[in-house]
Amino acid sequence: MLRSFFLIFILAVITVVAIAGFRGTHTTKPPIEIIPDMDHQPRFDPQHESAFFSDGRAARKPVDGTVPLGYTLPHAYYSTEANNNKFRQKPGAFSMAPDYYNSGKIGDVYGDGIPVEVTPEFMARGKERFTINCAVCHGATGSGNGIVTQYGLVGVANFQDNRLRTMPDGQIFNTITHGKNTMGAYGPQITVEDRWAIIAYIRALQRSQNATLNDVPQDQRAQLDQPQVTK
């Protein structure tokens, strides 16, 4: 009796392991939910689909001409309330308002100048955002030689060109927001403030590649003739 039991038992174990396999095996089958209670609640998560709407999206665009609930009109941006939490998306971060800060234009003309106080933190932010979003195509120094140009992307603007050196800040802002030629619009991805930070950093890149002795502070000029010492 025990003998037949163990025979059946071993066969059963082999069958279970053969069907169920081992932990960590790669599979295209969706995960088994052993106790699925309330795992799936009747709600829509971000970027999920809905059979209710004809385009299949659960997320809806605001109706044209309406202001979403909770949306603060531009320039509430600078309020202390909005700046309390530096990790939170500020209200109006993607505003398309027609003023210079949000459009780069004054009337129909591109304006020049950065409408935000440029601090070292702001420049560091610009560098970080430039490296994430721009350097892929425009290159780390903005010379239009980013990694994607080695894979067949042509027509990438070179920030060191005179045309871009003399281009007003507002026009660069407009290009980031709406894209130009083969460049897509980055307005939906990069907040208004970050766009200005990127422009400030681009200006620094342009100066770095086109500097004269006069740009070097007096007390640091002596170092220029020194050979670089590397540890």
């Binding site: 932990r23 309330m38 998306q89 994430i132 992307l153 897509g184």
Partner: protein, 243 residues
């Protein structure tokens, strides 16, 4: 009176006990091994509409996670990129590659690509990406080395005990903010002098000299950041995550 029970029945109770013991252990072992996300979730590798290779985009091209997952620092949900993000390059690069057919169709039809979600918390769990990446928890801690995956798969169990392991000892996973999206980062890559100058010395090691060739350990870095940023992840309150 003849024996009511034959002789072999003397052993029957013992045999039944042995069988129950073996069966009980087998069922326990089976539940222990299989009834856990370590088995049910780890290894999930769905077929995506576009076979997007993270290894090429991140390790070969050097793209940052945040080029595509653009709102991970400010939102609870780490977004899948819109089709335009793909088309920024793929309008020209690999523009006839059949693997990118779904992206081109989406670009024409203005309907999103139906990506399959791999890492999914149950709906009764509140998880906020921004709270984690802004406090030095790397993508790596939950998603493993996606930067070396040709096809993304579920690499860590994402069970509740696994969450709590880190919530009770976050120092094992914290790293400087600027290294959060660098999935190849190792504690030994960190320059001890720059690190201690910026964040201070690890608590309890104020006397130690970090100049020269000293390498920091994960615990030293984690403890310093935990102390410096006052990292106190909720570890007892159920309503921190179940709200």
């Amino acid at each position: 009176m003849a024996n009511l029970f034959p002789k072999w029945t003397n052993w029957l109770p013992l045999k039944i006990l042995v069988i129950l013991f073996v069966l009980g252990n087998a069922v326990t072992a089976g539940v222990w091994y299989y009834f856990t996300p370590k088995y049910t979730r780890v290894g999930y590798e769905p077929i995506q509409p576009v076979p997007f290779p993270h290894d090429i985009h991140v390790s070969q091209l050097g793209m940052d996670c945040r080029y595509c997952h653009s709102f991970v620092e400010v939102a609870a949900h780490s977004n899948v990129p819109n089709t335009q993000t793909c088309m920024n390059c793929h309008s020209q690069v690999q523009k006839d590659n059949p693997k990118l057919q779904a992206v081109r169709e989406s670009w024409k039809s203005e309907l999103p690509v139906s990506w399959v979600q791999i890492h999914k918390t149950p709906d009764y769990v509140y998880f906020n990406h921004s709270a984690h990446v802004n406090r030095g928890v790397s993508c790596f801690s939950c998603h493993d080395q996606v930067n070396h995956m040709a096809v993304v798969y579920h690499a860590k169990p994402h069970s509740m005990s696994w969450c709590l392991d880190c919530h009770r000892a976050p120092e094992n996973n914290l790293r400087p903010r600027e290294q959060v999206t660098n999935l190849d980062w190792k504690p030994s890559d960190e320059n001890a002098q720059t690190f201690t100058a910026k964040y201070g010395k690890p608590p309890g090691e104020e006397q130690k000299d970090f100049s020269g060739e000293v390498k920091l350990t994960q615990l030293e870095i984690g403890n310093t950041l935990k102390h410096n940023w006052n990292v106190q992840p909720p570890d007892i309150n159920c309503f921190a995550c179940h709200r």
